[in-house]
């Protein structure tokens, strides 16, 4: 079977879910005729028509708010943020209106907000963001951030079928850089379950999204050069988070490195670190360490971006330090 890119996997999920369920509709800027800034929705409007694939005005709050209204009425809207950075314009709508709808008003709000996220692509400060941490203290939202084509497809299908709002972060660096053979049939990956990306004995790297690949690269290098056996846990879902999988890997290797692309301060690693304390403090043989971006807005020039974002070499170095602790 042919290999499928991360981007194409997402497109497939949209296609299949729109085929399956006539209540699924897509909303976003330039997603229709043009097929989206990254062509994720390419061909969707031709197949499903203008009323199910809607080119909206340049209004993120309206896109999300309108999706919520339609969701209340039983539709299952999928909103595209042209870049996920623009989700900040719908922050109120998501955290106040959408997240609380079920709880305060018993209104179902099954919807997905998806969009290209993350850096390593010279996008500068406003086309490279990882806003997941900003939504982590908002009960009522779910957050997923897949690292593989297979998970991208399976999690998006799960997100569309979920009865609540799922923020679906897509890493644009991965869009066309990774591909794999996808599982056949109706491939759905449950939200809330981590994936063991690599087994190991000496040290665990807990991560998600693009840095999963950097962690895997680092793990190979460490195996090759230092004879270190590194386990890599890909969280996939951040809300809810898979406590069992986290506890299991920590109890196994006793050393944890948390890696993400977002800034260290205020990033999701803090939450993971606190959970590990709760779940497996006695099993820790070394402090939990974090590798993330420097605490600055993400600059544009390659030299600067590379310096600010976490690189494979950083993970290698931090892992060695931890292993030697």
């Amino acid at each position: 079977m042919a290999e499928t890119t991360y981007l194409e996997a997402i497109r497939q999920a949209l296609f299949e879910e729109m085929e399956r369920d006539p209540d699924v509709l897509c909303l976003g800027e330039d997603i229709g005729v043009y097929g989206g800034a990254f062509k994720v929705t390419d061909g969707l409007q031709a197949r499903f028509g203008e009323s199910r694939v809607i080119d909206t005005p340049l209004s993120e709050a309206a896109i999300v708010g309108a999706a919520a209204g339609a969701a209340h009425m039983g539709m299952r809207p999928v909103c595209e943020m042209q870049f996920i950075d623009f989700i900040s314009c719908a922050y109120d709508m998501l955290t106040n209106y959408v997240a609380t709808a079920r709880y305060r008003a018993f209104l179902p709000c099954p919807m997905v907000v998806r969009g290209p996220s993350g850096g390593y692509v010279r996008g500068g400060p406003f086309h490279s963001q990882n806003p997941e941490a900003a939504f982590l203290h908002t009960p009522g939202l779910k957050i997923v951030y897949p690292a593989t084509a297979s998970d991208a497809k399976g999690l998006l299908k799960a997100a569309i079928r979920d009865e609540d709002c799922v923020l679906f972060f897509e890493h644009k660096y991965l869009y066309r850089r990774i591909k794999e053979e996808l599982p056949p049939g109706d491939h759905v990956v449950p939200i809330g379950k981590a994936r063991l990306a690599r087994e190991g004995r000496d040290l665990s790297i807990i991560t998600y999204a693009a840095t999963v690949w950097k962690a895997l690269e680092a793990a190979e290098q460490l195996e090759r050069e230092g004879n270190l056996s590194v386990e890599v846990l890909d969280l996939r879902s951040l809300l809810p988070m898979d406590d069992d999988a986290i506890a299991q890997t920590v109890r196994k290797t006793n050393r944890v490195l948390i890696v993400h692309e977002d800034t260290v301060t205020g990033g999701v690693a803090g939450e993971i670190s606190a959970r590990i304390n709760d779940l497996a403090f006695e099993w820790l043989d070394a402090p939990i360490k974090r590798v993330g971006a420097h605490d600055v807005p993400l600059p544009y020039a390659p030299q600067l971006e590379d310096f600010v974002l976490p690189q494979t070499a950083d993970i290698v170095k931090a892992a060695r330090w931890l292993a030697e602790y």
């Binding site: 709050a61 309206a62 209204g69 079920r102 209104l107």
Partner: protein
């Protein structure tokens, strides 16, 4: 609703409403006012948790506009804090309202949300959240679904003069206009947003003028005239139902009470409130219109007033007897799945740390 049983004839009245309908409008306006008066009593007895928001003097615009929708067709509105009347028209009951304000366990939100922040999509109303403007995009989406599904339904959303300044209002009405959603947007211009007069809210001469910028019709009507309000809304509802898209309606009215019960309205020019109360009370006006213009006997209206009193009394007894929420219910229903969040590890059935009926002195504003 009890009034419809008083139906005696279907002779069409001048404004296109039957006699029964005219009385029904009166009934809802009176119910709004009496229910709020009861709430004031309960508030003074500290039985209302949190603030109390009145629509005194604005009953006509809420009732008249909502009355233009057709509940039987599944029309839906989203009210503001001063649209108690609209909710009653759509079928919200006095006991629900009282339980909400008193944060009872069997209130429509089980004690989770305040005052009239609740909804019921079956009866046709969706509760607002506090963040003003947000309901406009939401109702754009509700009505978009009507359009996409080819349903014969219409939506109505209210915004205050103040809320027209929000980005959400703008994005939502523009979205709905472009999509030709079957939506009516009512700007309830009551002169103030909290303490801020309209002149500091916008430089435009009239809120109806905002319509042009969205490419939709804009009309203005006297919001203290319940029949005029009904008519202007009915036209917009008909347009929406005919597939002609959004209408913006400005209803002019006046907020005779403060923003909430605590607000002493020191910022209002002297005499302004009295003048509105004396010259332009919507219930007084409508009573005159019914008794003089339509030849309805005062006694008939008084009978309705009595019925309303009885309903409010019964609802009060019921609501007062309602149980408080069960603390652990707080953990249920954030998500469909999981259906319940676990209680935190250090917690086992704690008692309320503050007495239920203590009103916190810092709520809303100063207590000096």
């Amino acid at each position: 609703m009890a009034v419809t049983s008083a139906r005696t004839s279907d002779r069409t009245m001048p404004p296109g409403l039957t006699r029964d309908q005219l009385l029904e409008l009166y009934y809802y306006m009176r119910l709004t006012r009496s229910l709020e008066e009861r709430l004031v009593n309960l508030y003074r007895q500290t039985k209302v948790v949190g603030g109390l928001f009145r629509s005194l003097g604005q009953e006509a615009d809420a009732v008249g506009s909502a009355y233009a929708l057709e509940r039987s067709k599944g029309d839906i509105l989203s009210p503001l804090i001063r649209n108690l009347g609209s909710m009653l028209v759509q079928g919200a009951t006095p006991v629900e309202i009282l339980r909400q304000y008193m944060a009872k366990g069997d209130s429509p939100t089980r004690g989770r949300e305040l005052n009239i922040h609740f909804g019921d999509t079956v009866r046709g109303f969706i509760g607002q959240i506090s963040h003003l403007g947000d309901m406009v995009p939401v109702m754009a989406g509700v009505t978009l679904s009507f359009k996409l599904r080819g349903q014969d339904r219409v939506g109505l959303v209210y915004v205050g003069d103040g809320a027209t300044s929000t980005g959400a209002f703008h994005e939502g009405i523009n979205f709905a206009a472009v999509q030709r959603c079957p939506l009516v947007v009512i700007v309830e211009n009551n002169g103030y947003a909290y303490s801020t007069p309209t002149s500091k809210q916008t430089a435009c001469a009239s809120f109806k003028d905002k319509a042009l910028g969205y490419g939709i019709p804009g009309v203005r009507a006297d919001g203290n005239d319940v029949v005029a309000t009904y008519q202007v809304t009915k036209e917009a509802v008909d347009r929406a139902r005919a597939g002609e898209g959004v209408t913006l309606i400005e209803l002019t009215t006046y907020r005779r009470k403060g923003h909430a019960e605590h607000d002493n309205q020191s910022y209002v020019p002297p005499g302004e409130i009295d003048r509105w109360a004396r010259e332009n009370d919507p219930l007084d006006r409508y009573t005159r219109e019914l008794t003089t213009g339509q030849g309805i006997a005062s006694s008939e209206l008084e009978e309705l007033d009595g019925r309303v009193r009885g309903e409010v009394d019964r609802a009060t007894d019921e609501a007062e007897a309602s149980p408080a929420p069960e603390p652990r219910d707080a953990l249920r229903g954030v998500y469909a799945d999981p259906a319940e969040v676990p209680a935190l590890w250090y917690r086992e059935g704690i008692r309320s740390a503050v007495e239920t009926h203590e009103r916190p002195s810092s709520w809303g504003t100063h207590d000096g």
